[in-house]
Point group: C2
Chain length 186, copies 2
């Protein structure tokens, strides 16, 4: 990991990415959520070089996302099983799946979530557990948590999270320019 | 992008990651969701090398996640604004935020989503829009979509998605071993 600045970051997104912020890692977790546990299963599914797979599995074990179990003594064989932390990653994969289906599947979806009994296709949406209200509209905003430091508070104070997405159109270039200029002057 | 095998993948997660599967890219989208638009804002927020930032912004523009607008002619200045595709990435960031808060913030959360009016902290959960039922339990399973090819169908046919997570504890090593052995024999 060469990105030193990440170590200092309080942002939970950055901290999460520190552990899985790499294609292979997320796809390994995806495959593990599909029930794969063995090296050769991941290798075949991903078409990944063995040394790279060894490294990524090791990093996920170290991050507490996978647990390594020996399932055979002679020859020694290991399997990689999702921990609770790993299983908790499922919403990220589901959100990514929905995004991929909407924006990068012009020929139609190839993978869907369906209700196990009715077969009805799910339309994934992120809501608040208690209120059931969507979290990605203007109703919810970001706020510093109890452990937020100065830098995080400053950053969040100027955030337009939620508001940005409510806006139907960006400001005209001239307008933006004037706003910026007048800010500089004041 | 050196991972040639991804081009062939039908999986929407893989296709999504193809566009943003890299720390910086996701953090740039995160910052854009917070309202940042200018090169120097991203640079300051991320502590990223300018040439790397230029490359990542270019890749996100090419992927249709950001749009580049000129907001000043002399000197020429550009800003990067989220497209609909970029704004639609918000659930992935929210899911990652929840995961990071739960698993990598031992000192407590530093960033939260709160209701804009009541200030109540949100507890993010992914549900089906129509039924309101959680998508990450055993109630929903993966299924091939209309565009699924042979490889995808095969892969999904052996998936234990959903089932894996319903299991309260992993099988004992001996039990697993026996299952595998007996499978091989049959």
């Amino acid at each position: 990991m060469k990105h030193k600045s990440f170590g200092k970051m309080q942002c939970p997104v950055a901290r999460g990415l520190e552990r899985v912020g790499e294609w292979w890692s997320m796809l390994i977790i995806r495959d593990a959520l599909h029930g794969m546990t063995r090296f050769d299963q991941f290798e075949e599914s991903l078409g990944i070089a063995p040394n790279m797979l060894t490294r990524r599995l090791g990093a996920l074990v170290k991050a507490g996302v996978l647990e390594k179990h020996r399932y055979s003594d002679r020859p020694p064989r290991y399997e990689y099983v999702l921990t609770e932390r790993g299983r908790d990653f499922q919403p990220v994969i589901v959100a990514m799946q929905a995004w991929g289906n909407k924006h990068f599947a012009p020929e139609g979806a190839s993978v869907l979530l369906v209700h196990a009994k009715t077969g009805a296709t799910a339309d994934p949406v992120m809501v608040d557990r208690k209120t059931g209200r969507p979290l990605t509209g203007p109703e919810y905003v970001v706020a510093p948590g109890p452990a937020a430091g100065e830098a995080t508070r400053r950053k969040l104070a100027s955030s337009t999270w939620g508001v940005t997405h409510a806006a139907s159109a960006p400001l005209a270039p001239f307008e933006r320019h004037s706003i910026r200029k007048s800010k500089v002057r004041s």
